[in-house]
């Protein structure tokens, strides 16, 4: 039988993969995708616990997180488009105007 632990490990795995993507990739779009992965991992946790506790609130939070993900994706992609128009690139480490 499947216990909550399984779900926790699954979400941990997804989370780590997402982190690796965020930290190592150069392409901003893929970084955003990795962030989506992380959010999903969190969702799995929430749902698993809501199942464990037998209350629906975890799922409600998951819904909120999905909402956030939507907003974040919209804004992030908007930024990417604007940036791409100016700099003709989508590489994260060329976005270092902060450095100066």
């Amino acid at each position: 039988m499947i216990g909550t632990g399984h779900y926790l490990f699954l979400s941990l795995a997804l989370f780590l993969i997402g982190v690796v993507g965020v930290v190592t990739r150069r392409n901003v779009i893929i970084i955003l995708m990795s962030i989506e992965l992380i959010l999903n991992a969190v969702n799995i946790n929430l749902v698993a616990f809501s199942r464990l506790v037998g209350s629906v609130e975890g799922q409600v939070f998951a819904i909120f997180i999905i909402t956030d993900a939507a907003a974040e994706a919209a804004v992030g992609l908007g930024i990417i488009i604007a940036f791409f128009r100016n700099r003709e690139t989508v590489l994260a480490d060329e976005m270092d105007l902060l450095k100066w």
Partner: protein
């Protein structure tokens, strides 16, 4: 003041309308359309015309004894108590006040009436000129200043208007400021006027010091109170200084030189400012302050002589001019000479009378000349005109009327006033009369010379111009007609001394004309005769035997050249004053450059530079040294931080992960977990 007398109560509005209009023009005029501009300005002048004439009629409606209205809007310069030279303690206070009496009434009538006509005329004349709104703005500003001048109840406020009209005259002479000659003429007028005004100002100061008041209505009282004897030195000095101002403004010898050049301005300006109104300000001022002049017979004598000499001198110059407007300019000067002659012999009312009629016909003459110039598309040289009489009939007829008037042919306006003056002059001094008489003849001669050269004889107009010779539009001809009517009938108000009696309250202090019979009729006949003689001569020379003038010119070569070049007066002035002034300026400039700049400023600069070497050293090595030291320390310290701050998203994310790692480890440790717990 009676409640019924609305206009007298609101006389102070008269100058305000043009002021408002000019303010609007000079602020927003650029954005307004021409039609709107004309509506504004002419409308404002029309309003002041209505108010002015309303006031005049209500003044006349009063009984002769009470024809004086004076009131102040506010205290302008309340200087407080002071001692006059005669030791009186007076409380000097210059108000912003208005005095409305018969003399002012006449002036207001002239200014608003002729001003309005000329405004209407300008709508047509300036239609195709640039700076339409600018022109009308200046013109309205002039109206304001002139009305302030004539309505002022004290010399100081009068002086404000006086300077105002001077400014407007300068602006309008230089209206075409891109034309060098125009700009120069403006400057010339302004500077020459300054000379006169300097005298005027001194006169005012002296007046304040002597009488302690500037209000016209108080002058007489102050003189009486001061127990001044006739011919008192101070009063004479004041009178002469005021007259100096008058010579400047009214173009009398020796300060007349600016008026001919002032013809560079647009013709309506010449008509309004340099014929009808402004140049007569001097005469007005004299009459206004006649209380003083009456106490200074020597000064009066000077005035009379200057006037007479100016009259004949200008007349001679006018004889040989070819520029139509310049002829009129010299004629104006000589007519002004007449007025001063009148004042000089104590016939103030006659002077004002001539001023009135002169305003009519000289304004008309200028407008007519403008109409002619308009017709021959800008040509001003009479050599290039002729036989225009048939083509521009209205202009011709009106100008004929004006010419007859100025020549003193009865029963036109000029006849009455001039005859009055000559009569009084004869009574005072036969020599003066003789001069006036000759001048009358010359006037008739050169005015008809102008008329014949312009309208009669053979046409000398170039063909391409001749094709589009045309009568001016109605808004130009109508004023001509009105003025023509006035210059025909305008003189009749003087018949039987009615005009003189009207002015009594102002000129009462005039010395009673020395008794003794004067052959009025004989003088009349004589002046008419010489006028006719002049006309005949002009006809003979310029219609009958057109070749003669050149012959005569040839035979009198030297004299001719002398007169033709206006007695070289301008050159003499240049040589005597202008260039000397320039030299002085140059010298001073050289002094400034060498001593002030060279030694003072540059020397100081050099000294400073020299001394600054030390502070340079200090700054460079000590101050900057400290700064750089601090900066270097910071830089060295910042190396590890800079290594952390890559400015890259990913690395920051990496640091976040690191932080989570550490925190989680810390919590586990705090919770007391160790690797031992990993054992199942």
């Amino acid at each position: 003041m009676r409640p019924s007398e609305y206009f007298l109560a609101h006389i102070w509005l008269v100058p305000l309308f043009p002021l408002a209009a000019s303010a609007v023009m000079l602020l927003f005029g650029r954005k307004l359309s021409n039609s709107l501009v004309s509506v504004f300005c002419v409308g404002s002048v029309a309003l002041s015309l209505v108010y002015g004439f309303g006031a005049i009629f209500q003044l006349i409606a009063r009984p002769a004894a009470e024809r004086v209205v004076e009131f102040a809007l506010f205290n302008w310069i309340p200087a407080g108590p002071m001692h006059t030279t005669s030791g009186h303690l007076v409380n000097f206070n210059a108000q912003w006040g208005f005095l409305f009496d018969p003399l002012t009434a006449v002036m207001v009538g002239i200014v608003t009436g002729v001003g309005f006509l000329i405004h209407v005329y300008s709508i047509g004349y300036m239609a195709h000129e640039g700076g339409y709104y600018r022109f009308f703005g200046y013109l309205n500003l002039f109206m304001f200043s002139m009305l302030t001048l004539v309505l002022a109840n004290n010399i100081l406020l009068m002086f404000v208007g006086w300077e105002g009209v001077g400014l407007c005259s300068y602006l309008l002479i230089g209206f075409y400021f891109l034309k060098k000659s125009a700009a120069d003429a403006g400057k010339k007028a302004f500077i020459v006027n300054r000379i006169g005004d300097a005298g005027f100002l001194l006169g005012i100061f002296l007046l304040v010091g002597t009488l302690g008041t500037l209000n016209f209505s108080e002058l007489r009282g102050a003189i009486v109170a001061g127990h001044f004897a006739v011919g008192d030195a101070a009063l004479t000095a004041i009178a002469l200084l005021l007259f100096a101002g008058a010579t400047g403004k009214s173009a009398q010898i020796p300060l007349y030189v600016w008026l001919p050049d002032a013809m560079e301005g647009p013709t309506p300006v010449s008509a309004l400012i340099h014929a009808a109104t402004m140049v007569t300000a001097g005469v007005y001022m004299l009459v206004r302050t006649n209380a003083i002049f009456a106490m200074a017979p020597r000064a009066l004598a000077v005035v009379a002589v200057v006037g007479a000499v100016t009259a004949i001198f200008a007349a001679t110059m006018g004889v040989l001019q070819n520029d139509i407007k310049r002829v009129l300019a010299y004629s104006t000067i000589s007519q002004l000479g007449y007025m001063f002659l009148a004042c000089g012999v104590g016939a103030f009312s006659a002077g004002i009378f001539h001023l009135l009629t002169h305003a009519f016909f000289k304004g008309l003459l200028f407008l007519g000349a403008g109409s002619v110039i308009h017709a021959v598309s800008g040509e001003q040289d009479m050599q290039k005109m002729g036989a225009l009489g048939g083509k521009i009939r209205t202009t011709y007829l009106t100008m004929l009327a004006a010419t007859l008037a100025i020549a003193g042919i009865p029963p036109l306006a000029g006849f009455f006033s001039k005859d009055e003056i000559l009569a009084r002059a004869f009574r005072a001094n036969h020599a003066l009369w003789l001069v006036g008489w000759l001048t009358a003849g010359m006037t008739a001669f050169y005015m008809f010379r102008l008329l014949f050269l312009t309208f009669h004889g053979t046409s000398r107009v170039p063909h391409e111009v001749e094709r589009h010779i045309h009568e001016s539009p109605s808004n130009m001809t109508v004023p001509l007609i009105i003025l023509a009517v006035l210059s025909i009938v305008g003189g009749w108000i003087g018949i039987g001394g009615r005009f003189e009696r009207f002015l009594e309250p102002v000129t009462q202090s005039a010395p009673a004309s020395t008794a003794g019979e004067t052959p009025e009729a004989a003088l009349m006949i004589a002046s008419v005769a010489i006028a006719l003689g002049g006309i005949g001569l002009a006809w003979f020379l310029y219609i009958k035997r057109t070749e003669l003038p050149d012959k005569i010119a040839a035979s009198f070569g030297g004299l001719y050249r002398l007169v033709y070049n206006k007695y070289y007066v301008d050159q003499i002035y240049d040589a005597m004053f202008v260039n000397r002034t320039k030299d002085l300026g140059l010298t001073l400039g050289a002094f400034d450059r060498t001593f002030i700049d060279g030694l003072g400023v540059d020397g100081t600069g050099w000294l400073t530079r020299a001394t600054s070497v030390i502070s340079i050293f200090w700054d460079k090595w000590i101050i900057d040294g400290i700064v750089n030291l601090v900066a270097n320390v910071v830089r060295v310290l910042s190396i590890p931080v800079r290594w952390l701050q890559t400015g890259r998203v990913s690395s920051y994310a990496g640091f976040i992960v690191l932080g989570v790692l550490v925190l989680l480890g810390f919590y586990l440790h705090a919770a007391g977990y160790t690797l031992a717990n990993l054992r199942p």
